[in-house]
Symmetry: C2
Subunit: 342 residues, 2 copies
DNA sequence: TTGTAAGCGTTATCAA
DNA sequence: TTGATAACGCTTACAA
């Protein structure tokens, strides 16, 4: 017993091959009578069209590529889930392509993938989104592209994103609303555009509240646990330490927590910790953290949707972020030297 | 400018199409002269053969499927990394297929995937490995299959695995070697074969050490955080509580830690906690945990290797687990009621 | 060792 | 609204 082909279906249904093809592709100009016959035959033979043949003969391959260079399993997992979901709905397949943005072969690899698989479109996630040479290659090939949270050439391709400035503003404003006046900020890796955007949001909220910007409260990080911990140590050692620390990523927030713990600073009693849930991991692993959450899965779904619905047309879609408060981000007690709890 | 085809290459190289094909497929009986001409033309034209055409014309699709129903991002990520690595080396592509083992359409979905993509082979991870209907469908189609850590029909397909009995034995023996005599065990989800195997290893080590099996020290869990916490609460409330708790998964071990913390039991001062690092997450998120680690990425690599190297032949490959001790799994202090520290 | 010709299973084109 | 037929880019047989 070998695979059923379109020929088998046409024979069983008693119609021409072309008619079967029409039904398969939901083309117009097929009578209900024909359509029904074909559908019955397809079901009876358990027929599934060969993707290879469709790709070779037609203009589409029913495949899109997801290109990433992101070491966070949670990020990738959720992104795949979202893109995969939309692909399934459209009967498309998703090809995953991990890569290394520092590899000299990056552009060639992407080109080879597109050629070999005849991809119908590409989704890129940060930081691949902002590799100029890769983008140029895609333009050259005129292949539809959707970028997730791009940092440069914002209008060059379709894109999905959250507003990082607003998100950081929201979190900062929330902390201020609880009574915090000295809010430490651990910034993100300098290579990521999100880092600067988050700093901007932080400053914006402070200014609106009439709180002066204190450069001593801003400490550079690299998005990782270590730098979060280092930042917290520095910030908590200040003559006038912050009552709250806002880390620009969840891993750094975890680092802040660890350092505070090590230094005997009670959380949230003496210090409120907040962060960005960049990897979708914070809520799972550090459930008490107050975070700004990017809806990674939704971003993936929206990216695929844009690609499948609009193709070459450039569309942008902004998704809402969430401020997630779990446990208490308690209002700070005065921490003036010598003060003691009520 | 359109894609280069094999015809273009043959023209540029001044040889026949078939010769180009021979070089591409590394067939024998090609003179060095010809080979060189072809390789130059390929490089010059930046030619990448169409997978669709190769699949349609040939017997192979250069694609294998990875089927999973596993909610752990870390597990999936590492598995993909391992399988993907081996695929890249062989110039194969990996198709990811998430599924739901309780869905009635499972078998049909798998069949459709194989038909549409003409997959050359399938890798399955638990718990899909042990779905009889799915396995039967694959046998019917005579497609090469490699299962990761199968629980049933062990010799039915090629497989890669670690020895769970030995692993649990190792950990239990290690705890005993530190002086523990009362070791609690939180078992895994009853649906997973690994659960029973780990219980067996635990009992085996106890017996060898001449320690009687105490059913009161074994508490059923479901592999998740909650049940780990519940188990710890029950075990620590025993009249004679264990000095050590061995959880059959990392998430449960985390639950044990949390519960101990909540109950004011100091770790590792009064209680040693150990676990299985099933998701490859323990070392990242709970770095102090003593764990038995499955090398997930290596399992994936080995699975793909088996599939690509041996195809239909049934081969089994056992990989070593690792006992990872970080921080101290301190020997227990006596915990008799009323006793006080040194 | 190299080349020729006939498919592979679809879709595109054009005619009916 | 339906159908015949020529591609699509490669591999497989088979010849030379």
């Amino acid at each position: 017993m070998t695979r059923a082909t379109i020929k088998d279906v046409s024979r069983v249904a008693g119609v021409s091959i072309k008619t079967v093809s029409r039904v398969l592709n939901k083309e117009r100009y097929v009578s209900d009578d024909m359509r029904q016959k074909v559908e019955e035959a397809v079901a009876r033979l358990n027929y599934h069209p060969s993707l290879a043949a469709r790709t070779l003969a037609g203009r589409r391959s029913f495949q899109i590529g997801l290109i990433h260079d992101n070491p966070s399993p949670y990020y990738i997992f959720n992104m795949q889930a979202g893109v995969g979901q939309r692909c399934r709905e459209a009967n498309f397949r998703m090809i995953i392509q991990p890569c290394d943005i520092n590899s000299p072969g990056l552009v060639d690899d992407i080109g080879a993938l597109i050629d070999q698989a005849q991809l119908d479109g590409i989704i890129m996630t940060p930081p691949v989104t902002d590799v100029g040479t890769a983008l140029a290659e895609l333009f050259r090939r005129k292949i539809p592209v959707v970028r997730v949270q791009p940092g440069t050439d914002l209008t060059a391709t379709s894109a999905v994103y959250i507003d990082n400035v607003q998100a950081a503003d929201d979190m900062t404003a929330y902390l201020i609303s609880l009574g915090h006046r000295r809010i430490g900020l651990v910034t993100g890796h300098a290579n990521y555009f999100a880092s600067g955007q988050r700093l901007t949001g932080y400053r914006q909220a402070l200014q609106r509240a009439g709180i002066g910007f204190d450069a001593a409260l801003v400490f550079p990080g690299q998005f990782d646990f270590q730098s979060g911990a280092a930042a917290a140590e520095a910030l908590l050692a200040l003559p006038e330490p912050p009552t709250s620390i806002f880390a620009s990523s969840d891993e750094m927030a975890a680092g802040v927590l660890a350092a505070a713990h090590r230094m005997g600073v009670s959380v949230p009693g003496q210090l409120s910790v907040a962060g960005f849930d960049d990897t979708d991991l914070a809520q799972v692993v550090w459930p008490s953290l107050t975070t700004i959450r990017q809806p990674i899965r939704d971003l993936g779904y929206a990216a695929a949707d844009l690609l499948l619905e609009f193709g070459e047309t450039i569309e942008r879609r902004q998704l809402p972020h969430e401020l997630i408060v779990r446990g208490s981000t308690a209002p700070p007690r005065p921490m003036a030297p010598g003060s003691s709890p009520g």
